[in-house]
Symmetry: C2
Subunit: 319 residues, 2 copies
């Protein structure tokens, strides 16, 4: 009897200590309820819910965190509301150049692509780079050629264009305003039933970026990192500042070398980047299922769904 | 009298504590005295001496560490013996695709380029990205367009071809051997009279790489990093493994968060990468002028010249 109770208690504790689930972001920026209006708010919430559901379904069935983050990010790539895949922002030349990265916290294997223009799902291609090449990162024409060799049907660059992003581009050109503005990105971090972490990030980059510009998103250690021993991270924000302080790996390092808990490590790493300038946020999760989603912008589209009942979707405020 | 002695002593101590100088590498790999022969050994030594002299001349005049690392790396890019600029290795398609990065430890500003095919000095272009764009990294066609806009005369891709690299490529193709072999890179770290650190890395990447492949060299935090508060680092080796553990920033983090001295931090960070597989080495320098040049390959072309008299050039052995 006592033994049964003990085992039951142990099982409950194990469950309580090791939930599974995922956390996502759909970009950080100057968004407020007043600015986007109730219609758009509803649509963004639904988009985040859909991405969470896609990732959670994988985890619930006992699937790997790697599949969950890919599914969540792919859902946002397909959603024209987010700046990744369809709905990607435009370069100074009016083209779409997409970047993505994915990392497996169990093996430290990673895949990344940058500057792709004809690949429907950049995160899917990043996964293929990880699994089917001896490389971690492929860019531009080489990445496109690899995609074709893998049987991915190329899409015209205009496949990614939405009226909203085109309008932003047009307005920017009319005003001849040089300073880049849009800095959204989508991303996900997940912990599976087996205790493995993974992270994925995908983006169209910043509005008005120079063609060829690579931000933080596809850079392993900067916008994307995962290590079972510490945490999984996906960043969103003004990538240039994130690169200079290597934000995602900085969180992992603060946990590994200083023993900082996830939340403090993430806050400190984000702070170090933002001290240089810029703005943004991130989502991070540790192997115990702790989650943090700090940002310094008026809003960050974000969500969370964990097996222990934690669940939320939020767009604005109280970072 | 006592005061004068004290001041003199303080000045001597300050000088002793804060030397200036630079350390470089010209790639790590399976090189032994027997394999390359005395003629090549002499030529490599002369190439390293020339690069050291170019960088040291800048520092001696009181110039910035940033100029010194650029000068040293540019010297090796121009030298057909090294796998960077002229003498770059070939991709699977028989083309040259060059990567480079530079970072200023004082400001944490950085510039990087990847996949450029027509730019004479990739490190020079990385410096221009850092200084004349709001971005950190430009790749492929976008990087080429920026180079042309900056007035850099494009060179044909064959500009970088040497008989030696072409021969390696041809041999590889004949044997249909798929496994990449050449993993050299050139790099420099420097400390100037003002106490500022900088680092620079430039490479043709690995022989037989897929077109579009990006290794560690141009990735800030991975192959290249500099922060006055910790160290300057330039890596060489099998980039994929270096990316997955974010080697350069890992050294900086071990110093910052764990208080590890340079040599231990570098050895541990390199070890973490090599545990995953691959091979390679790095050069690193801290703000006190300490230098470490660890590697796990039979050889690493390397050199060092410091104002306190330390000076060496070595190609093989005792890592």
């Amino acid at each position: 009897m006592m033994r049964t109770t003990f085992l039951l208690l142990a099982a409950v504790c194990a469950f309580a200590q090791a939930p599974f689930g995922l956390a996502i972001h759909g970009g950080a920026g100057n968004v407020t309820a007043a600015r986007i209006g109730p219609e758009a708010e509803k649509a963004y919430r639904a988009g985040l819910e859909k991405a969470l559901a896609a990732g959670y379904a994988v985890l619930e069935k006992g699937g790997p965190a790697l599949d969950a983050v890919e599914a969540a990010v792919r859902s946002m790539e397909e959603n024209p509301l987010f700046n990744a895949g369809v709905g990607a922002t435009l370069t100074r030349d009016g083209t779409h150049e997409l970047d993505a990265a994915i990392m497996d916290g169990r093996t430290l294997k990673a895949g990344a692509v940058a500057g792709v223009m004809h690949v429907k799902s950049p995160i899917g291609l990043a996964r293929l780079v990880m699994e089917r090449t001896p490389h971690v990162m492929l860019i531009g024409e080489g990445a496109e050629a690899f995609a074709r060799a893998q049987g991915l049907e190329p899409v015209p660059n205009a496949f990614f264009r939405t009226p909203g992003q085109w309008e932003s581009f047009r307005k920017l050109k009319e005003r001849e305003k040089a300073r880049p503005t849009t800095k959204d990105t989508v991303g996900a971090v997940a912990l599976d039933r087996h205790g493995n972490l993974a992270s994925a990030t995908s983006t169209g980059g910043m509005l008005d970026k120079l063609p060829g510009r690579v931000g933080d998103a596809p850079l392993i250690g900067v916008g994307t990192y995962a290590d079972n021993r510490t945490c999984a991270v996906s960043c969103t924000g003004w990538g240039e500042f994130f690169i200079r302080t290597v934000v995602a790996y900085d969180i992992s390092a603060r946990m590994a070398y200083r023993g900082a808990p996830l939340e403090k490590a993430a806050a400190a790493a984000l702070d170090a980047a933002l001290k240089l300038g810029g703005e943004g946020g991130l989502v991070a999760m540790d192997a115990a299922g702790r989650v943090t989603q700090p940002f310094n912008t008026p809003g960050m589209f974000r969500g969370l769904r964990m097996s222990d009942g934690r669940s939320s979707v939020a767009l604005f405020g109280n970072p």
